[in-house]
């Protein structure tokens, strides 16, 4: 059961290599390709370098691959080269396929197909159909996938396109394997491998043989799996493809393990793991470890199995892919169970459940419940055993492993266990609490990362506004840009104070508002002219409230600084206080005053204040007796005490 999962992973990764007929390419330096592109004399050379750059980036960075596909396409249009135009579209299609944008990819593939039909180039039409098939396969639409694959196959058979045919066979093999039709899958794989060998594409044949080997493991025909994989291994060694060599060793090792040839299995698995680790292929190495642990488990060498479980656990940060970690937890849990360490076994199951939960897998919860019961029951077992010394240990062991199926016993024990259930439950809850603490810590780390990015982006926005304001000749436009910059800054300040504190969702209002006022006074250079007086209560408020509140203060204070005073200046008073369940903000000045309807109509800033107040469900009162006073009562707010 366990090996089956591993094999499917290999197939998916192999599929990427074969379905688009991308040959293994030498590691090419991008620099030299760029240079080549720049000095290329002929159009053909340009196409060549663009193609190489495209393939290079396709493995590394889709955006860049997209750019070079686009350049290739444009060059073809400029040159009136229809064939290459379709190839360019195809290249772009592959990028969107990899990005899982089915609609865009299918649109591009179909555009390429139309051009190819006009040209009447059947070989290329076959390729387009094959790509469309692969696209639908990637997205799980197997009916459409097989339709396109067979249409492609028909054309390729008609024109005897051996390269294309060998690819079609391989893709169909993968398709059938995915639908659990192993016999058909084997038939197509074999055709593909034979044809590839026949036309001298030995390297490509190696991948198909690797697929066949995996399929045999899936079909539990381990001897066949070994012989096919060994054939592939010879070719891989000939081409010195280290990753394939190591992967094949893992496959052969796992097959030998199933054939109970444990010593050979161990050697191969260890060799594979070592090689993969050397190449920093940690996720594959991780699979290898899981296979190795399984082997020790089968051999009943629990101490070695435990040793590797601990080694992997210690280095978990290297192994990042959840799907594989989940498998590891599963096997590790079995190892701990065999070792009688039910607590750790449960822990592993909990870890697995957390990962599975994130994959919305319900079945793991049932498994978890089962194990939790077993854990509780095993404790109960021990108590029973201590009470009744005449009981045979073996019998207890057997009953324990069969407990879940043995429902009546299960029920009986649960009833007996009612009194101790509370205690056990607390233990389990403790475990869960520990998990929660860890995942909370991770969340906090993520929050910090997000804050960092937000701040960086706010800096970019602020810089853009600055740059544009410098380049603007009209004074009023430059001022408007600076005001927008202040708005950005008022939000940035919030993130600053959030991020320095352990508390990551609340803001200390007094600190924040005083900083904000400082920044504003500074940015208008009015420290001499305007005397700032504040009375701000020491409150902690949620981010959702403080962001609009900060923007409102920003606008109101900007208004005062800009319009309230004559040359001799005056006082600016900002207060924020809590009265019963009302939070009251007041921004006032002793300046020349303004008619309130005039103020409302006056500026963009004021209309921002009005819509923000609406958002906060706050009442806005403007009065103008001595100077202007604007009062905002927020009734419905959540204070964090």
């Amino acid at each position: 059961m366990y090996f089956l999962k591993l094999v499917s992973l290999y197939l998916v990764s192999i599929f990427v290599v074969t379905s688009f007929n991308v040959n293994a390419r030498q590691e090419v330096q991008v620099d030299s390709l760029m240079t080549g592109l720049n000095v290329a004399d002929s159009v053909d050379e340009k196409f060549f370098f663009l193609e190489e750059l495209y393939y290079h980036w396709l493995n590394n960075n889709y955006d860049s691959a997209d750019v070079y596909a686009g350049k290739y396409h444009q060059l073809a249009i400029d040159e009136g080269n229809k064939k290459n135009e379709s190839i360019g579209l195809n290249y772009k299609g592959i990028v969107y396929d990899y990005r899982k944008d089915v609609e865009a990819a299918s649109e591009l593939y179909n555009q390429a197909l139309e051009i190819r039909k006009e040209l009447g180039d059947e070989r290329l039409i076959g390729n387009s159909l094959s790509n469309l098939g692969a696209l639908y396969f990637h997205n799980g639409d197997y009916t459409k996938a097989s339709d396109y694959y067979f249409r492609s196959l028909d054309i390729r058979e008609k024109i005897q396109d051996s390269v294309g045919l060998s690819q079609s066979y391989n893709n169909l093999g993968i398709l059938f394997r995915n639908q659990n039709e192993y016999e058909k899958a084997l038939e197509y794989y074999s055709k593909s491998a034979e044809l590839k060998q026949e036309i001298g594409r030995r390297y490509s044949a190696m991948y198909t043989l690797l697929n066949i080997g995996s399929l045999y493991i899936f079909m539990e025909e381990y001897e066949n799996a070994v012989s096919v994989s060994e054939e592939a291994l010879l070719i891989a060694e000939e081409y010195q493809d280290k990753v394939s060599i190591a992967s094949l060793k893992l496959n052969i090792g796992s097959a030998k393990s199933s054939l109970k040839n444990y010593s050979e299995a161990r050697i191969l698995l260890k060799q594979g793991i070592e090689a993969l680790e050397e190449m920093n292929e940690y996720s594959s190495a991780f699979e290898g470890y899981t296979m190795l642990i399984t082997t020790y488990l089968e051999e009943n060498d629990i101490s070695e199995a435990l040793k590797y479980v601990n080694e992997v656990k210690n280095r978990q940060e290297l192994f990042k892919e959840p799907a594989r970690i989940q498998e590891f937890y599963n096997i590790a849990s079995r190892v701990y169970m065999e070792a009688g360490d039910y607590k750790q076994a449960l822990q592993m199951k909990l870890d697995e459940a957390i990962i599975k939960d994130s994959l919305f897998d319900v079945s793991s919860k049932n498994e978890l419940l089962e194990l939790e019961t077993k854990y509780q029951l095993s404790e109960k077992d021990r108590e029973l055993f201590a009470l009744n010394a005449e009981n045979d240990i073996r019998e207890l062991e057997i009953s324990r492993s069969n407990l879940v199926r043995n429902f009546s016993l299960f029920l009986a024990l649960v009833l007996i266990g009612v009194t101790i259930y509370g205690r056990r439950n607390a233990q389990v809850r403790n475990q869960l609490n520990k998990q929660l603490t860890t995942s909370l810590a991770e969340k906090e780390l993520l929050m910090k990362e997000v804050h960092h990015r937000v701040k960086n982006n706010l800096q970019i926005i602020s810089s853009l506004l600055n740059i544009q304001s410098r380049r603007t000749e009209h004074e009023s436009a430059a001022v408007a840009l600076q005001e927008s910059k202040n708005r950005v800054q008022s939000m940035a300040l919030i993130h600053q104070s959030l991020y320095q504190k352990d508390n990551i969702t609340n803001v200390k209002v007094k600190e924040y508002i005083e900083q904000l006022l400082d920044t504003l006074m500074n940015s208008f250079g009015v420290e001499e002219k305007v005397t700032l007086k504040t009375d701000i209560q020491n409150l902690e408020l949620e981010v959702d409230l403080i962001i609009p509140l900060g923007l409102i203060i920003n606008e109101l204070v900007t208004n005062v600084i800009k319009y309230a005073f004559d040359d001799e200046g005056g006082d600016l008073i900002v207060t924020l206080n809590e009265f019963k369940d009302i939070l009251r903000l007041e921004v006032a000045d002793n300046g020349k005053g303004i008619n309130s309807s005039e103020l409302r109509n006056q500026s963009f800033g004021m209309s921002m204040v009005e819509s923000l107040s609406k958002k906060l469900k706050a009442d806005l009162v403007i009065s103008s007796e001595t100077g202007t006073s604007i009062q905002l009562d927020i009734k419905d707010y959540k204070r964090v005490s």
């Binding site: 701040k455 800096q459 970019i460 810089s463 740059i467 600053q496 991020y499 320095q500 904000l516």
Partner: protein, 237 residues
């Protein structure tokens, strides 16, 4: 006085452009720019006179700004300021190990940028003249013994009614003087009031932001009334 010469390492193009223009507005001379550690090392090695480097922490390439800082220390000995959106403890801890002249926190504004650069430049001077050495150690009564404390070992002082707490890297002493009295004694050694209750050693400042000063990993409030005076004082030390 000739313009101070600054090198900028920042990979985000708009931020870099704005930074350079702002620095020029502030009357500094930007003598070079880079987006990665490699580019920075190459360019800096060819610049003859350089007063300070502004260093973004997350930059292009495998090595970040902190790695680059280690190499700068190793190869050039030019002071540098980190300019970064990070301000969490772990990153600060890593950054501190490079002994930077200070930090500028993104998003910066013109005033803070200037204040932090000036502080960083001012801190460099004592390496040549050591004005703090001129002032002798003074004695503090501590648990029935007298202890000699050098002004440069003091990070900051905090008023406590009619007494004053004096903080060094390792200890905390209580002086039976008011903060005002302590200020009079230490002013010439490069100390300044930043708040009603706080006096700080200017040479220990890592970062000045709106309303706060960071010194050797501690945050101290910066009173509005004191900020302006502080900034002018920086120019004179």
């Amino acid at each position: 006085m000739s313009k101070k010469r600054i090198f900028v390492v920042e990979d985000e193009p708009f931020i870099r452009e704005d930074l350079v223009e702002t620095l020029e507005e502030l009357n500094y001379e930007v003598v070079g720019e880079a987006v990665s550690a490699d580019e920075a090392l190459g360019k800096i090695s060819e610049i003859k006179e350089l007063d300070i480097i502004l260093l973004d922490i997350s930059i292009e390439g495998a090595r970040d700004g902190i790695d680059l800082a280690h190499q700068l220390n190793h190869k050039f000995g030019v002071p540098f300021l980190f300019i970064t959106a990070f301000y969490d403890e772990d990153t600060l801890e890593r950054a501190r190990s490079t002994d930077p002249a200070g930090y500028i926190v993104k998003p910066w504004d013109k005033n803070n940028l200037k204040a932090n650069i000036e502080i960083a430049l001012a801190k460099q001077i004592p390496k040549a003249v050591e004005p703090q050495k001129k002032l002798d150690s003074f004695f503090i009564k501590h648990k029935s013994e007298m202890i000699a404390v050098k002004p440069r070992d003091i990070i900051y002082a905090e008023s406590y009614d009619n007494y004053t707490y004096v903080y060094t890297e390792t200890d905390k002493y209580l002086l039976s003087h008011t903060l005002k009295k302590v200020e009079e004694n230490l002013k010439s050694a490069g100390f300044a009031r930043v708040h009603k209750s706080y006096l700080v050693n200017l040479f220990r400042i890592d970062n000045i932001s709106e309303g706060q000063i960071f010194l050797s990993g501690k945050s101290i409030p910066l009173g509005r009334a004191y900020k302006k005076q502080l900034l002018s004082q920086i120019n004179y030390i």
